[in-house]
């Protein structure tokens, strides 16, 4: 965000957005809980849950954390982190499950 110098009007506009985001987050929470009661097949349930969670997370990051208008140095740090995070999160698929004795 344009930290430092914002007029009061601008801030006011922001605060209205915050409440809109809040309602969307509430709605999405309802959606994801609702879906869980349907007991979908596991794969679909995972995909849906992750899609909803990612949407919620994006809203928080973009608007509450002001990532929608952040500086390059922050984007750079986060892009780097995101790249390595991907490697971290695929570790489970690096384990040779074929040889596991259950």
């Amino acid at each position: 965000m344009a930290s430092g110098h914002m007029s009061v009007e601008e801030v006011k506009k922001h605060t209205r957005i915050y409440w809109v985001i809040f309602s969307s987050l509430l709605l999405l929470t309802g959606v994801t809980v609702g879906i869980s009661y349907i007991h979908l097949p596991f794969t679909y349930a995972v995909i849906l849950a992750l899609v909803v969670a990612s949407t919620k997370a994006s809203l928080v990051a973009l608007y509450f954390m002001h990532l929608i208008s952040e500086k390059a140095v922050i984007y750079f740090t986060l892009a780097l982190t995101a790249f390595f995070f991907v490697f971290l999160i695929i570790i489970p698929w690096f384990i040779p499950w074929d040889f596991a004795t259950h």
Binding site: V73, L80, T81, F84, F87, L88, I91, F94, I95, P96, F99, A100, T101, H102
Partner: protein, 575 residues
């Protein structure tokens, strides 16, 4: 500009404990790191001397101190394993990293970017004290009944989970050390990026600053997974969960009473996700230090500064995606191993480029054989050996034979001991006049260098021969194996050389302590005629480093083409 007087009065007002113990001055904290790390390096070295005695003369009583350690005076296998684990842990996490990142990074980065201090001075103090507590906790594990952690510095479960309570202490200490590194790395990055002097654009950073920033990013992003893994192992040990324990374990003559369902390989992945970048945490600051020393002492710019910078960044980046080459022998299939072999081969390229760049800097130079330069020059072939011997370990087929043998030990010790440690020792000689205003004794320095250089090669070179024969690492006594017995003579030679190496550090330590008071005073603030900003500060620098703000006028490593004069970054004149 009344800053100067202001500070001086400020200095004297500060009580001793504020100035030297709980100091927030990056220079004092850097020295605190340096002194503590030196202690740990010597201690870790001493542990290895005990182990080397056992390896050379298995089961023979250790002279003088043996009886104080064990009943028979010889090491027991238990104690040997504990010393091995603690040697690795202390050297890496309590010695080399705090020295390279804590001491050199802390002392030099603010000076080299022209800042008055780190961006977060109190955080800086905290990171030192968290490290200190981590060190104390780690050392306290020696007092545990049953001795210190004995599952290797890698702490592979299930061995580590079922080991005695010292392992819990080890994990706790690791959590402290990791936290300290995280705080430090945040500070380094923010300082280097935000507090740059006027005119110091990124591409004017000294190579050492680039190296420290790359290192800080590695620590920042690679350490947390190990912290997570350490927490999981702690919970396994303390609360009896089974994150790393599979079902159907049969330990100590009984079925293990755990829920099971975990996986030992999970630890290995999370561990190496840190521990491979960690290798570059050890080497990158050394490359930075070496670049400064070589450029200054060959009186010419680094060959291809940009290439150097990009190589360092690329090296840091790639170091995150090679970790599983430590795990080729854990059932890895063809696809995955090909990927990790390929990345491993790719990561060798920037290493070669860095080495080539430094070697080419020497072409057309005017080489001054000062003590720091001797260490820097020795670093080049030593780092080459360490790097090259990584190739057979990075290819699965050759790794089948060499994995977990002495070959591996030789490989990484060449990188870290005559590599990083030589670089850091050179760095001590190089920046000593800045820190104290006095030079270290050149004769003692040369004695230290030549003895260390010869001895260290006799310690590590035979490891390649033993490893090629297939001698496994971490053996309390290798003579039970036929190939171990056949190569046992090498152990006698290596152990003797290790002892000589220990003796060779005496002139260094003596030199370091006595020169503080009695060393030759430097005539000006830039005795080596170097180009970077730290030489603009007085020696030793005052609390605020630069009473009047410095300005940067040019790239680092600029020398006059016609005279033997230097063109420092902070000087406007075209000498």
């Amino acid at each position: 500009m009344t800053h100067a007087e202001h500070t001086h009065s400020g200095h004297h007002e500060m009580p001793f404990w504020r100035k030297y113990i709980f100091s927030i001055d990056h220079k004092v904290i850097g020295l605190q790191y340096g002194i503590t790390a030196t202690f740990f390096l010597l201690f870790g070295f001493f542990l290895m001397i005990l182990m080397r005695w056992q390896l050379a003369y298995p089961g023979v009583e250790i002279p003088f101190i043996g009886k104080a350690l064990t009943e028979t005076g010889a090491l027991t296998p238990d104690l040997y394993n504990a010393l091995g684990a603690m040697h690795g842990t202390i050297m890496i996490f309590l010695g080399v990293v705090p020295m390279a990142v804590g001491a050199f990074g802390n002392y030099l980065v603010p000076l080299q970017v022209g800042a008055q201090d780190m961006a977060f001075p109190k955080l800086n103090m905290m990171s030192y004290w968290v490290y200190f507590v981590g060190g104390v906790v780690m050392m306290s594990s020696f007092l545990m009944p049953g001795g210190a952690a004995a599952s290797g510095w890698t702490s592979y479960p299930p061995l580590s989970v079922t080991a005695n309570n010292a392992q819990t202490v080890w994990l706790l200490a690791m959590v402290f050390l990791i936290t300290s590194s995280l705080l430090g790395s945040i500070n380094t990055i923010v300082t280097a990026v935000q507090l740059r002097a006027k005119g110091l654009s990124f591409m004017r950073w000294p190579v050492h600053v680039w190296a420290q920033v790359a290192t800080a990013f590695l620590l920042l992003l690679a350490f947390p997974p190990l912290e997570g893994a350490a927490v999981l192992q702690l919970v396994d040990r303390v609360f009896g969960s089974s994150f790393f324990l599979p079902s159907g374990l049969y330990i100590d003559g009984a079925k293990a009473s755990v829920a099971g369902g975990g996986n030992p390989l999970l630890w290995q992945h999370l561990f190496w996700f840190l521990a491979h970048p960690e290798v570059y945490v050890l080497i990158l600051p050394a490359v930075g230090v070496i670049s400064e020393i070589i450029s200054t002492n060959s009186r010419k710019p680094i060959y291809g500064y940009k290439t150097m910078v990009y190589s360092i960044l690329f090296l840091g980046f790639m170091s995150f995606v090679v970790w599983a080459h430590h795990m080729f022998m854990t059932g890895m299939g063809v696809t995955l191993s090909s990927f990790f072999q390929a990345t491993t081969m790719i990561i060798s390229i920037p290493s070669v480029i860095i080495l080539t760049t430094l070697l080419l800097t020497l072409w057309g130079a005017s080489i001054r054989f000062t003590v720091p330069m001797l260490f820097a020059l020795a670093f080049l072939p030593m780092f080459a050996i360490g790097g090259l011997t990584g190739l057979p370990l990075g290819l699965t087929a050759s790794d089948i034979h060499l994995h977990d043998t002495y070959y591996v030990i030789g490989h990484f010790h060449y990188v870290v001991a005559p590599g990083t440690l030589f670089a850091l020792m050179g760095g001590v000689y190089f920046w000593y006049p800045k820190i104290t205003g006095r030079q270290m004794n050149q004769f003692l320095g040369k004695l230290h260098f030549w003895l260390s250089f010869v001895a260290i090669n006799f310690v590590f070179m035979p490891m390649f021969l033993m490893g090629s024969k297939g001698v496994s690492r971490r053996l309390y006594d290798q003579t039970g194996y036929s190939h171990g017995a056949a190569t046992q003579s090498w152990n006698v030679i290596m152990s003797t050389a290790a002892f000589v190496l220990l003796l060779a550090q005496i002139p260094f330590l003596y030199n370091m302590f006595t020169s503080w008071k009695w060393g030759k005073k430097v005539e000006n603030d830039n005795p080596w005629e170097a180009t970077t900003l730290e030489w603009a500060a007085s020696s030793p620098p005052p609390h605020e480093n630069f009473p009047t703000p410095v300005e940067v006028y040019r790239e680092p490593y600029s020398y006059s083409p016609t005279s033997r004069k230097v063109r420092p970054q902070f000087s406007q004149q075209e000498a």
